[in-house]
């Protein structure tokens, strides 16, 4: 792997984050009014808010955006706050900062979502490889592919809704709502807590897996058909190698790589999709926090969560880009893009 490639990717990640932060900065100013100020004033005016709190929030807001200064200075001070991951206070749950909330809630989302993406990817490619394999009877494909096409084309929360109704409400198999029972304390070193967390995460994980695994299965199936047409596949067959060896080492190994690129490209969809899914489950992770921030017009929290999501997706994609050449020796990244 060339150093210039790494540098270009780092620069790209930086550009993505910078663009996202700029969108955050520009958007409120395009409205001609100041939606954040309006919301803040409304909050300050509403009962139950101590005047000192309001003043501190206002000062922080002024600080963050430097409203009396010229626009370019506002932009610079905003960017430097963002670089320090300082998104200010949440408007609606005042003494807490946006970053505090993101960490507290993100901690509940990250484990289940990573597990879900992993399970979805592995089942998806295995299923797809089996479906695309020429040794698999044709009728199996004929039965399995149509439902896969339906699942892969609907949003996760649609599957979630059906699961909620049939599995959680009718069959009462799995709980709805919180990531762990309200009577428990969040303690990640406690096995009992982990067990409960896993139990509560089953349905959200299932929603992600059903949709995403179907998509990867279809993609992998198509790739397998292409790989089977290659000369090395015919040669492996002619050598009389064992079926299992041809399947895993010759066909799957080669068909896998485009799926990995697909994973990197789709990460954004999965994560934002899971945010809506969480809302439907009433699962108090980062996704439902985003949805609460939207409905309560908590702009600092909203902008903070969006930016953090952009940053994490960009970083995850970057890491996958770095791993890719290790998995595919054919790619040496000689300075050419695309």
């Amino acid at each position: 792997m060339r150093l210039s490639y790494v540098i270009r990717r780092v620069f790209f990640v930086f550009m993505v984050i910078w663009t996202a932060a700029t969108i955050n900065f520009v958007l409120p100013r395009l409205t001609g009014r100041d939606p954040i100020k309006e919301q803040l004033m409304q909050q300050i005016a509403s009962a139950g808010r101590k005047p000192e709190d309001a003043e501190q929030m206002w000062r922080k807001y002024n600080d963050l955006f430097g409203l009396d200064k010229p626009l370019w200075q506002q932009y610079l001070s905003y960017m430097s706050s963002v670089a320090r991951l300082d998104f200010g206070y949440s408007i609606n749950s005042y003494p807490r900062t946006v970053m505090e909330i993101i960490i507290a809630r993100g901690r509940l989302t990250l484990p289940f979502l990573s597990v879900a993406i992993f399970i979805a990817f592995v089942t998806g490619i295995l299923l797809g490889a089996l479906l695309g394999w020429n040794k698999t009877p044709k009728w199996i494909s004929a039965i399995v592919v149509p439902p896969l096409m339906v699942f892969s084309s609907v949003p996760q929360f649609l599957v979630a809704l059906v699961l909620i109704y049939f599995v959680a409400f009718r069959a009462k198999l799995f709980p709805l709502g919180d990531p762990y029972p309200k009577t428990m304390i969040e303690d990640w070193s406690n096995p009992a807590f982990l067990a409960k967390y896993a139990y509560h995460a089953v349905l959200p994980i299932l929603s992600v897996v059903i949709v995403e695994a179907s998509g990867w299965a279809l993609g992998m199936r198509a790739m397998m058909v292409t790989v089977e047409g290659e000369d090395y596949a015919t040669f492996a067959e002619a050598k009389g190698l064992k079926n299992s060896r041809i399947f895993f080492r010759y066909l799957m190994r080669n068909a896998l790589l485009p799926s990995l690129t697909g994973l990197a490209l789709r990460l954004g969809f999965i994560i934002t999709g899971a945010a809506v899914t969480e809302t439907f489950f009433n699962y108090s992770g980062i996704g439902s926090t985003l949805s609460t921030a939207i409905s309560t017009f908590d702009y600092f929290l909203l902008y903070g969560i969006c930016l953090i999501m952009v940053v994490s997706i960009a970083l995850a994609t970057f890491i996958m880009d770095m791993i890719y050449p290790l998995l595919d020796p054919r790619i040496a990244y000689r300075g050419q893009r695309g």
Partner: protein, 284 residues
């Protein structure tokens, strides 16, 4: 017409997709003759009724006749997708053709890097930011389509660029150049007609993308609270916890309509892909 049926027989995905799409369009247009569209709005009929002879689809918590909601809402959701898809594709065509035709030059580099960066920011987050910042704008069906269009141009632009890039080097384009055709003329007379099936497929894909985005936004409550679009219907299903009180009809109906809408568009693009890339034909 006979040719069409013969073709559908060879390309069942295309036939099924178009078939479902026509059914949905008939459902939402002819259906209006049988229901009162006003009953798709709150407080027009008795609330919480399961399906019965008078309201075959039942009614919801807010007193909407769900049959009317499905008839009116299917049309609205398709309309949002059509607006977003048409705008997205038009912008995508302009950028894609410019970048592809000037492939390798400065213009191409600027356009493609911008698209790459823009596409690395999840479109859904951009939409959430835009829609909640402009919350004072009254969101109707058209506004929703316009907002969703903000993110639906980048995908088509990138894939059209790739197509133009590969087509630019073909002999017939060289020939046109030698014959002294202008750039614009070559694009309009040589490239566009050859890419037509591909462009139709892109349209169907961006309508699909637009509907997906609008559903996600509306499911979070961003959209017109009053209009009975499919996404808003799901939002209210969630808002009033329809699953907790066992109002299965309120859940199942929008789910079925959405599955039909999305599947028909995916099948159509799948079928069009076979027309656009004859080489991929019958491989699977």
């Amino acid at each position: 017409m006979r040719g069409f049926f013969a073709y559908v027989k060879r390309n069942p995905a295309f036939g099924a997709g178009i078939g479902i799409l026509i059914f949905l369009l008939l459902f939402t247009s002819v259906g209006r003759l049988f229901v009162n569209p006003q009953h798709a709005y709150p407080l027009s009929v008795p609330a919480n009724l399961p399906p019965n002879p008078q309201y075959p689809f039942g009614t919801d918590r807010q007193g909407r006749d769900l049959l009317a909601v499905m008839v009116v809402g299917t049309g609205m959701t398709l309309q949002i997708g059509a607006i977003a898809g048409a705008i997205g594709l038009s912008v995508g065509i302009v950028l894609g053709f410019v970048a592809g035709y000037y492939g390798g030059t400065m213009i191409d580099t600027i356009i493609t890097s911008f698209i790459d960066i823009y596409m690395s920011i999840p479109g859904f987050l951009i939409l959430v930011l835009v829609a909640s910042t402009f919350r004072n704008v009254k969101l109707g069906v058209t506004e929703m389509g316009l907002i969703v269009a903000i993110v639906s141009w980048a995908g088509p632009a990138r894939s059209i660029r790739a197509q133009v890039l590969s087509m630019r080097e073909r002999p017939f384009v060289m020939m046109a150049k030698l014959n002294g055709m202008g750039n614009f003329e070559i694009v309009m007379k040589e490239l566009v007609p050859n890419l037509l099936p591909f462009l139709v497929m892109s349209l169907s894909q961006s309508v699909y993308g637009g509907i997906m985005s609008s559903l996600g936004l509306e499911a979070l409550g961003i959209g017109s609270r009053r209009e009975p679009t499919m996404g808003m219907t799901l939002y209210y299903v969630q808002y009033y916890s329809a699953f907790m009180v066992g109002m299965w009809w309120w859940i199942i109906e929008p789910v079925i309509v959405i599955v039909l809408v999305l599947t028909s568009l995916v099948l159509t693009s799948f079928g069009l892909d076979e027309i656009a890339n004859p080489r991929a034909r019958r491989k699977a």
